[in-house]
Symmetry: C2
Subunit: 191 residues, 2 copies
């Protein structure tokens, strides 16, 4: 060990705390007992007790076996609990002195990596088919001109100008303009 003075361990401890809390929550959500999770994951129940108590330093493979048994993404185990208020969606967040001046929250999503903002324009009759993205990706659309036909795995959604839609993009989907004027929209790609 070097003689470097490290920052206090609160951050490190909090990571472990998140893990233990997350595992316990997810295990309860899956309605599994410690014994059942131990058997499914191959991690000993004794270790699960220690992990949930936050008194052991877990390894990546152990954590991943647990994630696999809980059928959740690895990142779900380590991420901090969401302390945002999810009920703010569609909330009228601000109104100005002039009637009509307003700000509306369309979507709020926990992003772990990347955000891409796209401007799209589809002429009448145009189709843009998409393969499924990897798990975790989602898209948020806001149409500001024309009408967008969105098809997500067989299910159709019609978005008129001013409307908004959000969906997980780990499925086949397609954008289509079935109208008679150009469709323009903003596409937010997030993971």
């Amino acid at each position: 060990m070097s003689n470097i003075v490290h920052k206090d361990s609160s951050q490190r401890a909090s990571v472990l705390q998140h893990v233990s809390q997350n595992i316990r929550h997810l295990r309860h959500a899956a309605e599994l007992s410690q014994s059942a999770l131990a058997e499914r994951s191959g991690v000993s129940r004794r270790m699960l007790v220690a992990i949930e108590a936050g008194e052991k330093n877990v390894s990546l493979t152990t954590l991943d076996r647990i994630a696999e048994a809980l059928e959740v993404a690895f990142s779900d185990l380590i991420k901090a609990p969401d302390n945002r208020d999810p009920s703010r969606i569609n909330e009228l967040a601000w109104t100005g002195v002039h009637p009509g001046s307003k700000a509306v929250l369309l979507a709020s999503s926990a992003a772990t990596r990347e955000v891409e903002l796209w401007e799209w324009r589809l002429e009448p009759g145009e189709v843009y088919p998409c393969e499924a993205d990897a798990d975790g990706w989602s898209e948020q659309l806001f149409v500001f001109e024309g009408c967008l036909s969105l098809e997500v795995e067989g299910q159709k959604h019609l978005l008129n100008a001013g409307e908004f839609f959000s969906f997980a993009s780990n499925r086949r989907y397609a954008y289509r303009n079935d109208g008679e004027v150009a469709t323009r929209f903003v596409r937010n790609v997030v993971i």
Copy 2:
């Protein structure tokens, strides 16, 4: 160990692979040698070699000490390597069969936590002043109707319909509609 048959270990291995690749990349990005990182993190260089070779099963605290020394978020170490091309901004990513059908990438930003998509509307003369956000927050604006006057710490930017702007919002800024028709825009808030 139970006699349960587990899924193949490819998934588990890939997590470790991501970690090793990420650490190597981030270490190089920080222009640190293995020795330097070892000293800053308190993790032995011997261990760093093993981790970067993907031949050891890292523990959470070890990983966190590395993250701290690299000054990156813990989640940055475990997430899948970014296979997206960062130089695609303003690239005309897609054109349809009809002339005018197109998709343009307006912005791409690495998000570590949260994304909020807002719809705004400002009547003529309306002003919305904002205090500085915390460090790390940034905003991306796309105006689709009217004209938006954006003022970021004394510097003015005029955005007409169809135009786009991106800025770090850890400074005082204000939205203003100096035009004579309503301004409508999409506001993407990201950290």
